[in-house]
């Protein structure tokens, strides 16, 4: 049975695209057949995060307007043969697509793939409506900041109004050190306010910037704690129960030495 999950947040810059890329990579690494759709028409970025920007010939709008077949627009990942990207158009805008067309597109994709992941644009207008149109489930990404949580709350309301069942939450850019000194909202504070189930906490980490620079999502890096956080989210998404959360304490000198020596950080998380 295949499933379409939309990754959304309301606010921009909280990590929707990074989350979409890493969740897709992690699910594909588990052996699932995954299609990830960039629904941010006019401001595409998922191609860059996945390192597939040089392979784009056709895009989502071409498919919807019938200029090419779906299969022609899907780009196979260079590392995982069961991961495919459907890029957004860069020279069009959100009005080029409507929710009904998206619903049909997702249906077509679901016939071929186990998971269809939709990277939703920021905002609550057309792009958001298009993104949730074909989705079965929603994952809300937030950061531990007042503005991001406020927007997440608004989005949760809209997702529920659209009759998507219980959205789940990812807390991104979490900094344990700041939480420890009382300068960042902790997991429980955020859950108390947003009142939806948590599906992952992702530490704020330099690895994310390095992986974006290289076009290789951090989930590929089995020595990275952030990568491990995403891989565990994927396990929860695919239905595995009681997957423990990664340790969020700052990495100590010893961990760095082990990592430098090429030993997996897995033991520590």
């Amino acid at each position: 049975m295949s499933e379409c999950i939309v990754i959304t947040s309301g606010k921009g810059g909280v990590g929707k695209t990074t989350t979409s890329a890493n969740l897709s990579v992690s699910l594909a690494m588990m052996g699932h057949k995954v299609a990830v759709v960039d629904a941010d028409i006019g401001l595409r970025n998922l191609d860059v995060i996945l390192g597939l920007e040089n392979r784009i010939v056709y895009d989502l709008v071409h498919v919807i307007e019938g200029e090419c077949r779906l299969k022609q627009a899907l780009i196979r990942d260079k590392r995982l043969e069961n991961l495919f990207l459907l890029p957004a158009a860069q020279t069009r805008d959100k009005s080029a697509v409507n929710p009904e067309q998206m619903r049909k597109l997702v249906e077509q994709l679901k016939a071929e793939f186990d998971y269809v992941i939709i990277d939703c644009p920021a905002g609550i207008e057309q792009g958001f409506k298009n993104s949730i149109a074909g989705a079965d489930k929603a994952i809300i990404v937030t950061t531990p900041e007042v503005s991001a949580i406020r927007d997440a709350d608004r989005i949760i309301g809209l997702v529920e109004a659209a009759e998507l069942p219980e959205p789940r939450l990812i807390i991104n850019r979490f900094r344990q050190k700041m939480v420890d000194r009382g300068d960042m909202l902790n997991k429980d504070d955020i859950l108390e306010i947003l009142a939806i189930p948590l599906i992952g906490v992702v530490p704020d980490h330099e690895d994310i910037i390095v992986s974006a620079n290289r076009g290789a999502p951090v989930a590929f890096d089995d020595t990275s704690v952030v990568g491990e956080a995403y891989r565990r989210i994927a396990r929860r998404v695919s239905g595995e129960a009681d997957v423990p959360f990664v340790a969020l304490q700052p990495v100590g000198i010893w961990e760095n030495v082990k990592r430098w020596m090429g030993l997996s950080a897995k033991a520590g998380v």
């Binding site: 007042v146 406020r150 709350d153 608004r154 309301g157 939480v179 000194r181 909202l185 902790n186």
Partner: protein
């Protein structure tokens, strides 16, 4: 080091408490879509009605919208001085 000094002298509360308090208020207002002015006039009217039946301490009336687990409640604490003669 500053952290240690702050901790020793206990001079500073974490800013997360500010964040949480502001968020709670913000989300209630976002959700009910009532301006502070509308909220004030609702408060005045409700106090007016209660005042017809009991004598209340108007200065210490506590009246606020609260949210827990996604649901909003109007929480009010109205100290009663004494019950006035029934008008009705």
């Amino acid at each position: 080091m500053m952290e240690l000094i702050n901790r020793v002298f206990g001079s500073r509360l974490g800013s997360k408490d500010d964040a949480k308090a502001r968020l709670k208020l913000l989300l209630v207002h976002d959700q009910v879509d009532l301006s502070p002015a509308q909220l004030d006039s609702m408060k005045a009217e409700i106090i007016e009605v209660i005042g017809r039946y009991v004598e209340i301490d108007r200065d210490s009336v506590d009246f606020k919208l609260e949210r827990s687990n996604g649901e909003i409640a109007l929480v009010s604490n109205v100290p009663v001085r004494r019950v006035v003669a029934r008008a009705v």
